[in-house]
């Protein structure tokens, strides 16, 4: 058990969730897909991905999400400098604020009044390594070529670079997710951008929890977003051993098989989510209905035999450290947890590490403790994944339902086999995400009485 020494904690609750995933923006669309076990994995609509070992993606189609609809009219121009990842975060924040019933600057209130004072509103968003939009950059690069077709850096430096819009780089700075969100909603409190791969969203949620806990803000927009559906991201995920090798003739909805003996890897996805975290006293004072309590948070670093964490240590020790730290932080025992949302991306090595961690923390209960596996439906959206997972966990606590599970099995001694959606009296859920690079973050969410 990790000792926790000093404490200065205000209770933190979740008053709004704004997940975004290929099924759509908002919990309803995503929840319905999960209840039905309806996978959104398929061929790529924006470019031909069939040349990659994993030819499938999970993509949010344009007819389900238009960023222009989720920013104030006065801010529509700024959507031109938003990379896909930024669009997803801005959409998620809009939905979270709506769901929490907050009035922010985005609503252009006539009296200028916002629900939370602007200097008491923080923002912590996990982000990935944002890829430059290939067509935009390449059309500029193509202006600087030698007669043999190869790139001419002298021409680029002298004139070619002027084919890029002056603000080009700002589309791709990871902190631009938080930057646009804080501008839209006028969050002037502490703000940060965590870039630890798949652990980013929950690390951000944890940091918001601490910031509110120590009184530096009363509420935070917190979560993460990333799109892995682009050429560079797919290549890097493939190199990291995270993606399935499949054929275009395979059934895409059956590719991602978390914890299964026949698991072959994950699928690139896009999405994330923003949660409104709020001091319990702030939510109470404004009469807001809290959806769940954020009862505990823990973070850890795994020992990575290959240093970079592409090949994780199968013992899952670092992952269980984060889980245990979150339980300790919540003042709870493992047997008080009713369900777990793992990362469960379907990559065999990482699944094995997660299963080991779950068995270590939950002992004999591991085989019966329901896992909520999301990746077969949503794909893997990197820095955003933890926020989708946390939103789904909140929805389970609210509805007393567990979603369906597809494609997995029980071969690793954890409860991951196919099952339909069902009623369940879940009071507390643990969510944990391990990252490439070995960072782990876990939270405990608790149903409010």
């Amino acid at each position: 058990m990790l000792p926790q020494k000093a404490r200065q904690n205000r209770r933190v609750v979740i008053t709004g969730i704004g997940p975004i995933a290929p099924a759509g923006l908002g919990i309803d669309a995503i929840w319905n897909a999960l209840l039905e076990g309806r996978s959104t994995v398929g061929p790529c609509a924006t470019f031909d991905a069939a040349g990659f070992p994993c030819p499938f993606v999970a993509q949010l189609p344009a007819d389900r999400f238009d960023v222009k609809q989720v920013v104030p009219k006065s801010y529509r121009k700024a959507t031109k400098v938003m990379a896909r990842d930024i669009e997803l975060a801005v959409g998620a924040a809009y939905e979270a604020v709506r769901a929490a019933g907050l009035i922010t600057k985005a609503h252009e209130p006539a009296d200028g009044k916002t629900t939370i004072p602007v200097d008491r509103m923080g923002c912590h968003i996990g982000a990935g390594l944002i890829a430059a939009e290939e067509n935009e950059l390449t059309s500029a690069l193509a202006t600087s070529r030698k007669p043999d077709g190869s790139f001419d850096i002298a021409a680029w430096g002298a004139t070619g670079m002027q084919n890029l819009t002056p603000l080009w780089m700002l589309k791709y700075l990871p902190n631009m997710l938080a930057c646009h969100v804080t501008i839209c909603h006028d969050c002037q409190g502490p703000s940060n951008t965590i870039t630890c791969g798949e652990a980013s969203a929950l690390l951000s949620v944890g940091e918001s929890m601490r910031v509110i806990g120590r009184g530096a803000a009363d509420a935070c927009l917190s979560g993460g977003a990333e799109s892995k559906v682009n050429l560079m991201a797919i290549l890097r995920q493939h190199f990291a051993g995270r993606l399935a090798k499949a054929s275009t003739s395979d059934d895409p909805t059956k590719v991602v098989r978390p914890f299964a003996s026949n698991a072959i890897g994950g699928v690139p996805g896009e999405g994330g989510g923003i949660l409104v975290l709020e001091a319990a006293e702030s939510a109470q004072a404004r009469g807001a209905a809290a959806l769940a309590e954020l009862a505990g948070f823990g973070a850890s670093q795994s020992f990575c035999p290959d240093t970079i964490g592409a090949d994780p240590s199968r013992d899952g020790e670092g992952i269980s450290d984060a889980m245990q730290a979150a339980l300790d932080d919540a003042g709870m025992k493992a047997d008080q947890i009713d369900a777990v949302v793992p990362y469960g991306c379907g990559a065999p090595a990482l699944d094995a590490a997660e299963a080991s961690a779950i068995r270590r923390v939950f002992g004999d209960r591991a085989a019966k403790l329901p896992l909520i596996t999301i990746a077969p439906v949503t794909g893997s959206c990197g820095a955003g994944f933890g926020a989708v997972a946390a939103s789904v966990a909140v929805q389970c606590l609210r509805t007393g339902m567990l979603p369906a599970r597809i494609n997995g099995d029980d071969s690793q001694g954890v409860d991951a086999g196919p099952v339909a959606a069902r009623k369940a009296d879940v009071k507390s859920i643990l969510v944990c995400t391990p990252s490439l690079g070995g960072q782990n973050a876990a939270i405990v969410l608790r149903r409010l009485a």
Partner: protein
Amino acid sequence: MSEPRIVVTGIGWVTGLGHSIDSVWKRLLNADSGMEPTTRFDARTFPTSFAAEVKKDFDFRGFVKDPAVHASAGLNSQFALGAASQAWKQSGLDVKPPKDPRRVGLYLGAGEGVLDFDNYVATMLHAWDAAGAKVDGLKWAAEGLKRMDRLREIEQEPNMPLAHLAREFNARGPAYNCLTACAASTQAIGEAFSILRRGDADVMIGGGTHTMIHPLGVTGFNRLTALSERKGDPTEASRPFSVDRGGFVMGEGSGIVILETLEHAMHRGATPLAEVKGYGSSCDAYRITDIQPEGRGAAVAMLEALRQAGIDPHARDAQGRPPIQYISAHGTGTKENDSIETRAVKRVFGDLAKDIPMSSIKSMMGHLIAAAGAVEFITCVLAIRDGMVPPTRNLKNPDPDLDLDYVPNVARKVPVDVCLSNNFGFGGQNDALVVTRFTP
């Protein structure tokens, strides 16, 4: 229960001025510049063709226990390993490692890694369908899979320096990387401090590492017109607070500090180099490119750091000095930053602002982007240690609108007990740290 005190027990840096604490410090006090023509790529035709690069005599393999473990390390990871190894050694933790690795955490502000530019561009151009004005996915995948290197790609993830340091020092506690542009490593040290104060770790490895001296990095900043395009002697290009300042000059490298609870440091008999007393963080929520013109957010961050440190910005200390004896400025040398930072400091300290020496080491070391805050924090630790304040180089033509004491051109001998280190990032993040002399 009172909050634990947090001390600095190790510092290390790798910069364009060298890669040992004392050699770099000596050069800063000498007002030496690290700027030279760019060598990391052929920048001769770029609007900016100079930078303060880490020199070729830096080899991270001389700093680490087993270089084979770090074979994949990109530049950011190499710089971080060099800086962190110095800090770790100075702290004494190399001789007597912490008992429980789960009580050793990391919080870095590391930038994204360097793009494999040649292979990236070749792949893009190979797959470019000019008629359709788009990249052909099939062609791209075939070429990319063939050309690009697995480890080099993975190493570009911004959390890779974290992974290397965790491995080198067997750190298994809370581990974070934040990337809030030029404020990142100040924020990282501030959050590491907050984690220690809460009791979630005993030791934190904090700081940052970054290079953007690569074709698309320079392209991006040139397009934003943020870089100095001054012709002539590169050592004169970075001109913070000068009337003829025209943008920043890129540096690269890493600054890493070891922070720990005083209790932990004392228990193992370590020597505190300084104490961290306050951390403030705010967001402008203003515009994606511009700083809030009144310096509102910057002032909020400074005030919060001072409040935590129990310092009244308007009261002189017992010796009649201003409450802060040195400010390590963000001082990038852009028109906008230097004006607004000056305004914000005046807003915070009122009439006392003019009495506080405030300099920018970016005039010599360049702007280390995500790593800037960490090397500037280390500068504060050294100013306290030696009672010396580094100068702002190239300040020969003062800006009549900027009227603080920027320590022009020559280092100054002055007793320093309390410092403020400021950094502000594109995107509106403002972070400030108060670091003081350690007194038991």
